[in-house]
């Protein structure tokens, strides 16, 4: 069964450093998402991406964040200058379509620790 994969599984970085989290969505999916979960809190939506542009972003997704689909398979989330409060589990997801009726398939997550 096709899966969403994410690398690395765990990233430790110092405050102020840039990090790139990588995801390989399911190959025939067209819609891509990033979510995050701070320890003990809800899974929160960050951004959705379709046709090489952002479809929707949350209030969390400020200028420090960016997303890119650099080739036909990868989908990345970049945090330009990490803060302590960026420490969280970051989940990538993809879906075949959207409009709300299509389930999203999630990767295993990248645990980001900012020190």
């Amino acid at each position: 069964e096709p899966e969403v994969t994410q690398t690395p599984s765990h990233q430790v970085t110092q405050m102020g450093q840039e990090v790139i989290l990588r995801c390989v969505p399911i190959s025939n999916h067209l819609y891509f998402y990033w979510y995050r979960q701070i320890l003990g809190q809800k899974v929160e939506f960050l951004v959705s991406f379709y046709n090489n542009e952002i479809s929707e972003k949350s209030e969390i997704f400020d200028d420090q964040f960016s997303v890119e689909r650099p080739d036909g398979s990868n989908f990345t989330l970049k945090i330009r200058s990490t803060k302590l409060e960026d420490s969280a589990m970051y989940f990538c997801a993809s879906s075949a379509s959207t409009g709300g009726g299509y389930e999203q398939y999630f990767g295993p997550g990248t645990r980001l620790t900012v020190t």
Partner: protein
């Protein structure tokens, strides 16, 4: 604003007994509702969804959920729990008109003891 509440942080049941994991939601417009399960060190796995039609939806691993519009609930159920069902369960909602953004509950840790 859209939101989901899972009123129980933990649910404990004995193997073979029925289980219920509760979820209520608040959404403007028609809700699309989902249940996901997370096992340790794994991503969120899709279990089932309600879009329209029959209020009782069946999903993977013998789980089912009942959509109740008047109570704005979407409780997850299974007639006979297995130890292997022990995991973290998330309820999520999106509006039919949105671009798929999911709003999640905090999750409920289900423990099934032998």
């Amino acid at each position: 604003a859209q939101s989901v509440a899972q009123p129980e942080d933990q649910v404990n049941v004995a193997e073979g007994n029925p289980l219920t994991v509760k979820c209520t939601y608040s959404v403007s417009g028609n809700p699309y509702l989902f249940w996901y399960v997370q096992y340790p060190n794994r991503g969120l796995q899709f279990l089932l969804k309600y879009i329209t039609g029959d209020n009782l939806v069946k999903g993977s691993y013998g789980f089912e959920a009942e959509f109740n519009k008047s109570q704005t609930s979407f409780h997850l159920k299974k007639p006979s729990a297995l130890v292997s069902d022990s995991a973290l369960y998330f309820c999520a909602v999106t509006r039919g008109s949105t671009l798929g953004r999911l709003y999640f509950g905090r999750g409920t840790q289900l423990t099934v003891w032998p």
